[in-house]
Amino acid sequence: MTNPIRAWYAGLTDAESNVAWSVGVLFVLFVLGVASGVINLSYGLYLLALAGMYVLLSLGLNVHWGYAGLIDFSVAAFWGLGAYGTALVSARDSPLGFTVDPIVGLVVGLALAAAVAVIIGIPTLRLRSDYLAIATLGLAEVIRSVINNQSTWTNGPSGILGLPLFFGTWPILGDVPRGAPTYALDVCLVAVFVGVTYWALRRLHLSPWGRTVRTIRADEDLAEALGKNAFRFKMEAFVVGCVVMALAGVFYAHLQLAITPGALDPTQTFYVWIAVILGGSGSNRGAFFGGLVLVLIVQGTRFLGGVLPSNFPSAAVRLLVIGVLIIAVMYARQEGVLPAQHELITPGTTEGNDE
C-alpha cells in the first residue's frame, strides 16, 4: 500500500527530499495555523490562491528562461495583459461598456497576450541576450504606459473595478457566500490551472520541441547549423510562456476583482525571476517550488509588517530579502535548488525514462 510513496521518496535526490520535507512542514504549519485560528481561514485560502498564481508565473517564465534561455523582463506586462484582457470584457466598470462571462474573458486575456507576444517577439527575439533583457523591459514599460494613459480604453490610473468572480454566473458555484467559500473555489480554480499547465508544459518540454529549444539555449549557431529555425522556436517558446503568465493575470483579476496599472510594476517581474532561478532554471518542479517560496517572501514580509510596529518598512525589507536571495543564488548554487535533470526525450520511448 505504501510502496509507491516509499519508492517515490527513495528515488529523490538529497535536494528533492529536503524540498519535499520543507514543503511538507510548511503545509502542516499552515494547516495548523488555520486550524488554530492564528491565520484567518479566508486569508489562508487567499494565500494559497496567491501561491498558485505565483507558481503559474514561475512556470511561464521557466519556459522563457529555463527552456529557451530568453531573458524576458516583461513578465509583469504579460501578466497585466491577461488581467486587463479579462477585466475589459467582463468587469461591470469596464470602459468598453459591455460584459461577457469570465470564461470569455479568459480567452480574451490569453489571446491578447499571445498577440502582443508575437508583436514584441518579432523585433526582439533576434537580439543578443542582454539586449533582449533591455528591450523587453522597455517594451513592458511601453505597455504599462499605454494602459496608464489611454484612459478612454482602460480607465487609466484608476484601473478597472467590479470584476465578477470567476464562477459568478455558474449555477450553484455562483451562489456560494462571499468569503472563505469563494476563496476555496479560487483555490480549486488555480489548482486546475496549475495542474493543466504543469501537465502541458511537461509534455511540451519532454519532446523533440523541448530538446530543440534546449539546444538553441545552449548554442544557437549549432541548432541553426543542424537545420533548426531558431527564431521560430524562440517565438513559440515566447508565446507559450506569455500565455501562461497571462493565465496567472486572468486568475489574479478574478481573485482581486479589480486591476490597476500599479500591478504592472516591473518589480513584480524580478520577483518572478527570483522564483525561477531559485527553483532551478529549466525545471518545472523547481519553478513550482520557487513560486511557493516567493509567496512566502512576499506575504511573509507583509505579515511581519502587520505584526511589527507600523513604521516597520516591510516593502523595503522584502526588497532587501529578494535582493540578497538573488545574489546568494548566483553565488552559491547557480543551477538552483531543483535543477533540470530530465533527458528531453519523449516518455515511453526508452526504458528508464517512461513515467
Binding site: P208, A225, N229, G282
Partner: protein, 270 residues
Amino acid sequence: MSDDAIADGPVTGKPDPVLEVRGLEKAFGGLQVTDDVDLDVERGTITGLIGPNGAGKSTLFNLVSGFYEPDGGTVRVNGTAVTGAEPHAVANAGLVRTFQTPRKLEGMTVREAMLVGPQHQTGESVLSVFTNRGQVVAEERANLERAMETLERFEIARFADTPATELSGGQMKLVELARATMTDPDILLLDEPIAGVNPTLANKLKGFIRDLNDDGITFLVIEHDMDFIMDLADPIVVLDQGSVLVEGDPGSVRTDDRVIDAYLGGPLDE
C-alpha cells in the same frame, strides 16, 4: 574530372555538383576576405580545402553555410539557390556543417544531442506534441534506435548516457560527426575535423569519413594536417588571399610551385 592533374584556379562546370559557388564576395572593414570565389564540389567526392592562415577558408564556410551574408555572388546546393539564406534553410537544402571548436551542449546527454539531428521531426511542432502523440512517439523511437546504431558505428555507444560536457575534445568531434549524419545531409562541411585529436583517433575519423562517403555523403573538408587531407581528399582546392589559387589532385597540388609560394615557401607538411 579532366585529365589535367591541376588547374589554374577552380575547376567549374562539373557534371553533377552538390555545391556550386559563383563570384562570392565578402569584405570586412575594407579588407576583401573572399574575393570572387568560384567553386564546384562534385557529388560523391571528398574535396579538400586548404590554404595558408588567413586565406579565407573559414569565411568561405561561413558564407556557404549561411552564417555570413555575402556581399555578392551566388551559392547553390543541389541546384537550389541559397545565397544569403539563413543557416537552417541552407541545412534544410542539404548542406550541413560542423564547427572548428566542438560545441558542447550544456545539460544534454550524448544521445539527447544525437536526437537533435533528424530533420523535420513531427514532435518539433507545439501542436503535434499534443495532437499527434502516436506519431511523435513512433518517430522518437525510430530516431533513438538510429542514434544508438550511429553511436555504435562510431564506437562511442558507451557514452550514450554521458553528459555531453564531460566528453574529451576528440570524443566530441566524433559525436559532432555522428550527429551531423543524423541530419541526412547531401554534403557535409567539416571544419578541421582532426584539430586537437590524437593520431589514433584521427585515423579512425578518416575511416569513418570514407565509410560515410561510400554511403553517398559528399564532403568538403578544411584541414591543416597536410598528410591527413592529402590522403583523404581528392580533389584538393587551394585558397589563397580570398580566392581559389589552384585545384587538382593531391600529388600535383603538393608539388605545385604556386601552392608552395602561397605557403611562404615553407614545406607543406608543416
